[in-house]
Amino acid sequence: MDLAHSPADEAFRAEARAWLHAHVPAAALPSLETAEGFAAHRAWEAELAADGWSVVNWPARFGGRDCGLMRWLLFEEEYYAAGAPGRVGQNGVSLLAPTLLEHGTEEQRARVLPAMARGEVVWAQAWSEPEAGSDLASLRARAVRADGGWRLSGSKTWSSRAAFADRAFGLFRSGPGTGRPHQGLTYVMFDLRAPGVTVRPVGRLDGKPAFAELFLDEVFVPDEDVIGEPGGGWRIAMSTAADERGLTLRSPGRFLAAADRLHALWRERGSPQATASRVADALIGARAYQLFTYATASRFLAGERLGAESSLNKVFWSELDIALHETALDVLGAEGEAVGTEWAQGYVFALAGPIYAGTNEIQRDIVAERLLGLPRGRRG
């Protein structure tokens, strides 16, 4: 084994670095959880897309570079090391796009993906409901057959980006499901400004509307916005959840860059011994995540299916992210309390990690049952 990238991959990395060096805004953009910041981040996506850097691992015909998983990882390392803005299109790019690439029609791909790549259409996810969070299969919002499409009714909640986004994707109950909750679900894309949609922004811990509640009253969705077979939505949604998503939801680049910035901050503050071990642990954790991800990507590219391993990832990065930001706030001392700083914003964002995308408790159940082979049993 070795850790060296090929000269061609290194050349790609150098090209990305040079582009980012020339284009990354000198001053941080306003928070993407504000109307002004959302617009600024959308413009940044367009700038990335203009030179082909917004979705590098996608097929070229949809705005990508066909560059593969490894180069995507390298690009992300460079992206975050350069201090480039957070990605407002993340939900669409990491959740909807892989699903369309695997299960969508060519018409859907051609219609949805290029506009997503350019930031023209920003997508919100609409999975959770008031009674369906980690137990997603218990969702109740309905899709009822209508002429030429479906009518959606019910409510969705904790929809990330929905306060300012254009469209959303999620699962709706379209049939009785023959007694099994995973059946009879349909995967639908819909317009957040369609008649019958009410969006109620919800402030997260810092008050910013990072997500929203959606109320749907007979919202019409044409057949062409259903992904895959009606009623087969669960399988479609989950098939892309474990595999590549295990790698692409959070790339190591963000944690490597954050750990380096934490280390620099700690040095600037006189290398206080009280936090030395935790700073070292952040560096070690980010490196572990990087090497783990490269190893996983190697296995994926060698044709192995990745399943429950993505649950190992989820727990690891989400806890690393919190520990890293907590340490930064402690290094800052009383100053760490002030909101609006990069570290305070990062801290608030990190706090959600163990909660979303399946709580870490559910991920630990998956690790225990599917990787360790422990008996299924009481959740309590």
């Binding site: 850790l3 090497l291 727990v315 360790l372 422990l374």
Partner: protein, 316 residues
């Protein structure tokens, strides 16, 4: 680019696993704890025959190395099977003696398994000084060949017999490559600890799968599952650090691997003991062989905090 061990490397680890699995290592370790070494020496010879020590010795001196990735893979297996003896010290001694002029004469015997080595900084405990043929002391004036050892003290891990090496003796190398040897010692310890953790996890998963309380397997309780899931996560993320450090052999990477692997093994040991209950707390049950080793390896060749300090020093 390949971030995984290749087929040959995996086959090597697999064959070592098979050999050690048949060798009855728990009984060998128990004998070793009592100073009965026949089984331990025979096992040592077989490990040497498999090439493990030769991997740390240059080809010019009868070795196959230096090949730290293979050494790391081998030490994971040695840890998984609780093999006793100054294993880490022997590969660290090889690193210390490589390029040491006339003192390189000891290398061929290390590679072939003909002699065990132990190694300590002057005044510190050396592991298995009573069993090693080659006792090396790092002092202020360089590396010396110790003339003997003091009384044996027991370790928290009974299979590690602690001895102080006698001062004096022949000066072998005035300026030995201490940093390099420390990296080898830490890498091998990290890999061994990872193996110890993997064995503890595997045994505990098997135990909670069959131990019934309240009418159900203990392993069906979420509190039990989550402790084991955390152990699995810690071990899985330590593994690439260990292998990555073997590729770069930089002091900071090796220290990161050592800290992570030893913390992961120790976390797993705590979970293993808790989830076994009282049976795990007994010396007669084999789990104790790994439980105690996880604790001892944690501070061997640098505590987690020593290693973290090295990580911080190694950053620009």
């Amino acid at each position: 680019m390949c971030f995984l061990p290749d087929a040959e490397q995996r086959a090597f680890a697999q064959s070592l696993d098979t050999m050690l699995g048949k060798a009855g290592t728990p009984a060998v370790a128990r004998d070793w704890s009592r100073g009965e070494r026949t089984g331990g020496r025979a096992l040592w010879a077989r490990i040497a025959e498999a090439g493990v020590f030769a991997l740390a010795v240059p080809q010019a001196h009868g070795g196959l190395g230096p090949r730290p990735v293979e050494v790391a893979l081998a030490f994971v297996e040695l840890g998984r099977h609780a093999v006793p003896g100054p294993l880490v010290e022997t590969v660290a001694a090889a690193a210390l003696l490589t390029g040491a002029g006339p003192a390189e004469r000891f290398l061929a015997d290390l590679a072939s398994g003909g002699s065990m080595a132990t190694l300590a900084v002057e005044g510190a405990y050396a592991v298995d000084g009573d069993a090693a043929a080659l006792r090396l002391v790092l002092g202020a004036d360089g590396l010396r060949l110790s003339p003997g050892h003091g009384p044996v003290r027991s370790s928290l891990d009974p299979a590690r017999r602690l001895t102080r090496l006698l001062p004096g003796g022949q000066l072998l190398v005035p300026r030995p490559p201490v940093e390099r040897a420390l990296s080898w010692a830490r890498l091998a310890t990290a890999a061994q600890a990872l193996g110890v953790g993997l064995a503890l996890l595997e045994r505990t998963v098997a135990y909670v799968g069959q131990r019934v309380q309240f009418g159900v397997p203990v392993g069906s309780f979420q509190a039990v599952k989550h402790r084991l899931a955390d152990a699995r996560i810690a071990l899985e993320f330590a593994r690439p650090l260990v292998l990555g450090a073997a590729v770069t052999m930089s002091a900071a990477d090796v220290a990161a691997a050592k800290a992570a692997a030893c913390e992961a093994a120790y976390t797993t040991a705590r979970a293993a003991l808790q989830l076994h209950g009282a049976i795990g707390y007994t010396a007669e049950y084999d789990l104790s062989l790994w439980l105690t080793k996880a604790r001892a390896l944690r501070t061997a060749w640098g505590s987690p905090d020593d290693c973290r300090a090295e990580v911080l020093r190694g950053r620009p």
